[in-house]
Symmetry: C2
Subunit: 336 residues, 2 copies
C-alpha cells in the first residue's frame, strides 16, 4: 500500500546538477518592518519572549566549533564523550559550543546579561562567533541605549564583549555590574600569582586586560548574590564553575526564568550527565554540587531555564532522567 | 558555600514597577544587511540550512492555539492528552500546532513545499498564523520568483496559502504539483458525496474552492510517489493521514532530509506516542502503520527530519524510546 521503502527514502537525487551560484534576490515586500535582503544568509539570531511585564531577548553570539582535547571532560574519556555526542546526533570528536547572552527590558531600562566573545572575534572566527552586537542591532536594540551590563563570571566569552576591537566600550552608556565574590577573587594578585597552568594564567591575563581598561574601571560596580541587581533581576550564588560564578533570576508578575550562565556547558553532555566535569570548571566538585542542586530545583518546580551554552534560543525546561537530567527546548513562538 | 536556595531562586521581584510602555528603539547599525526596527516584535521566523548543494529555508506560518476537543486524540481521553502535555511542559487543555512549510533552492530554482494557512488568515488569526509570505519575504525570497509549489496533501493548512485573500495566486509564476493519488481521491465526486461528517464535508468544500480556482486549475499537474518531483526532491507515498498523503526527500551530495508533512502532528503527542490517532487522520490505522514504519527508518538510519507540525525551525532527529519515539531538535546554527 504505502510505497515507502528504505531504499526509496534514501535514494539521493544523484543526477541533481546543483550549482551554488544563485543570483541575489531582493523582495519588495517588507515583513513586519524588517527589510528583506537575506538571501544566502542565516536569519539574524534573536528571539523575544515575555516574563510578566519584562521583555527578554535571547541573542546569539554564534558558536565555537572545535576538535576537543582528551581532557575536555576531566573525568570521562574521549569514547564516553563521543558516545554522548552520537546519542545527541552530533559529530564525533567535534565540540560545538553556542553562546547566548540575553537582554532584559524592564520599564524602558535595558540590561545585557553577559556579553559574548566580542565584535573583534567576528573577523577572527570568520563570522562563526562575535555576532552578538550584530544580532542585537537586528533585534532593534541600540548598544547606546543599554544602561546596564551584568556579568555572571570572568571567562572571556562572558566579558570580552565589553570592549570593541579598538578597546573602546561596546556599551558606552552602561554601568558594568560584576559579582562581588568573582571580582574579589580574580582581582587578588595573590590568587593570580598562584596559577601555573597555561589556561588559568590565560584566564587571569584576559580578565585583567578587560577589567584594567580605564573606561571599564570607571563603570564597574560589584553586586552581591542574593540581592536584586536591577529591577526584576536577582542574583543567585552558583559557585563552582568559577569561585564567584553567579546566576540570575528574571521575575515579573509571578513569572520567572532562571538565567544559569555556566552551571552546565552544552546540555547534550552536562545536563544529561551532571557528574561530568568540564575542563573549564575551576572547582569541579563544587560545580557539580551546584549543578545537581540547581537542576533538581528546576525540574521539581518546572522553572524555565535560559542557558548561555544551550543551542539558540537557549530556552528550555528540565526533566529528570535515570542518569541525570534532560533539556526540553521551549517551542519557538512566532509571536511575542 | 553556595547561597542557592529554592526560596532565593523563586523570589520574584515583587516591587518591580514594570511598565509595558517603552519608546521605540531604532538602531543605526545594520546587521548583515537586515534593517533593524524590530523592537517589540518577534524575529521573523525563517531558518536556513544546506543539504549538499541545496539550500533549505524553513519558514513558519505561525501557530494555531486552541482548546482541544475530547476527540482530539481518537483513542485517548483528555486526561491522557493532558498528561502528555504536562510532560512536555505545555499548558493543560490547550493545543498549540505550529505550521512550518519549507523552501528548497536548487541551482536557482525555487520550490515551496506546502503553503500554510494563507495570507488571509493573518488578519483572521490576529497575526498568530498566516505569516508564511511575510517571513518568506524577510528571508529574501520573492513569491514571484517561486517556480514550483509542491503540495503534500489537501488539508487547508497545506493548500490555502496557494491563494491570496482576493483569490489571486500567491505564486503567480509557479506550477502547482500535487500528489496524483490525493488528487484522484479528492476530486472524485463519488468520494465527496459519500461524506456526511461536518469536518470531512468541510475538507472537501475547502479543497474544491482552492482547486476549483481557474488560475490554480491552469497550473496544476499531478506527480507520482516514488519519483523525482523537481531536481533534488523525491516523493514518498506515506498514505493514511489522507488517502494520498505524500512526503518528500530532499537530497544532494549524499545528504538528505525527510520532509514528512503530517506523518505526525505535534511531536510531543504523536512522536512520543505513535499509536495515538489524531482526529484529522482520515485512515487512522494506515496512518499509524506509516508513522511507525517511517519513524523506525528515521531512527535506525539517523535521517534528519523536517516536520510541518514540529516547533519552528522544525528540524529534528528521531530516537527510539520504550514507548515510541522522541524528537531531538537539531541545534540552531547561527551560520549557514
Amino acid at each position: 500500500m504505502s510505497e515507502l521503502t528504505r531504499r526509496g527514502l534514501m535514494t539521493a537525487a544523484a543526477t541533481v546538477a546543483a550549482t551554488s551560484a544563485m543570483g541575489p534576490l531582493f523582495s519588495a515586500q517588507p515583513a513586519r518592518a524588517q527589510a528583506a535582503s537575506a538571501a544566502g544568509q542565516q536569519a539574524a539570531g534573536w528571539y523575544r519572549y515575555k516574563v510578566g511585564d519584562i521583555e527578554v531577548t535571547a541573542v546569539t553570539d554564534g558558536i565555537n566549533r572545535f576538535k576537543f582535547p582528551d581532557t575536555f571532560v576531566l573525568n570521562q574519556n574521549r569514547d564516553a564523550v563521543n558516545k554522548a555526542l552520537e546519542a545527541a546526533f552530533m559529530q564525533k570528536d567535534m565540540m560545538e559550543i553556542p553562546y547566548t547572552p540575553i537582554v532584559v527590558k524592564n520599564g524602558g531600562k535595558i540590561t545585557v546579561i553577559d556579553t559574548g566573545t566580542s565584535e573583534a572575534n567576528f573577523a577572527n572566527s570568520k563570522g562563526a562567533a562575535g555576532q552578538f552586537t550584530r544580532n542585537l542591532a537586528a533585534s532593534g536594540i541600540d548598544a547606546k541605549d543599554v544602561s546596564t551590563v551584568i556579568i555572571s563570571h570572568y571567562h572571556g566569552d562572558h566579558i570580552n564583549g565589553l570592549l570593541k576591537a579598538d578597546n573602546s566600550l561596546t556599551y558606552p552608556n552602561a554601568e558594568i555590574l560584576v559579582p562581588a565574590a568573582e571580582h574579589k577573587y580574580f582581582m587578588d594578585d595573590a590568587e593570580m600569582n598562584k596559577q601555573s597552568g597555561d589556561r588559568m594564567v590565560g584566564v587571569f591575563k584576559n580578565l585583567r586586560r578587560v577589567f584594567g581598561n580605564a573606561e571599564v574601571v570607571k563603570r564597574v560596580k560589584t553586586y552581591d548574590a542574593g540581592k536584586e541587581v536591577v529591577p526584576g533581576v536577582n542574583a543567585v550564588a552558583t559557585y563552582g564553575h568559577t569561585p564567584g560564578h553567579t546566576s540570575h533570576v528574571v521575575s515579573s508578575g509571578g513569572k520567572s526564568v532562571f538565567v544559569q550562565a555556566d552551571i552546565t556547558n552544552v546540555p547534550f553532555l552536562f545536563t544529561r550527565n551532571p557528574g561530568w566535569h568540564l575542563m573549564f570548571d575551576q572547582i569541579p566538585d563544587m560545580a557539580e554540587a551546584t549543578r545537581r542542586k540547581t537542576y533538581d530545583m528546576l525540574a521539581t518546580d518546572k522553572v524555565m531555564l535560559q542557558g548561555f551554552h544551550y543551542p539558540f534560543p537557549a530556552v528550555a525546561y528540565i526533566e529528570k532522567t535515570s542518569s541525570g537530567y534532560r533539556e526540553v527546548p521551549v517551542p519557538w513562538s512566532p509571536t511575542i
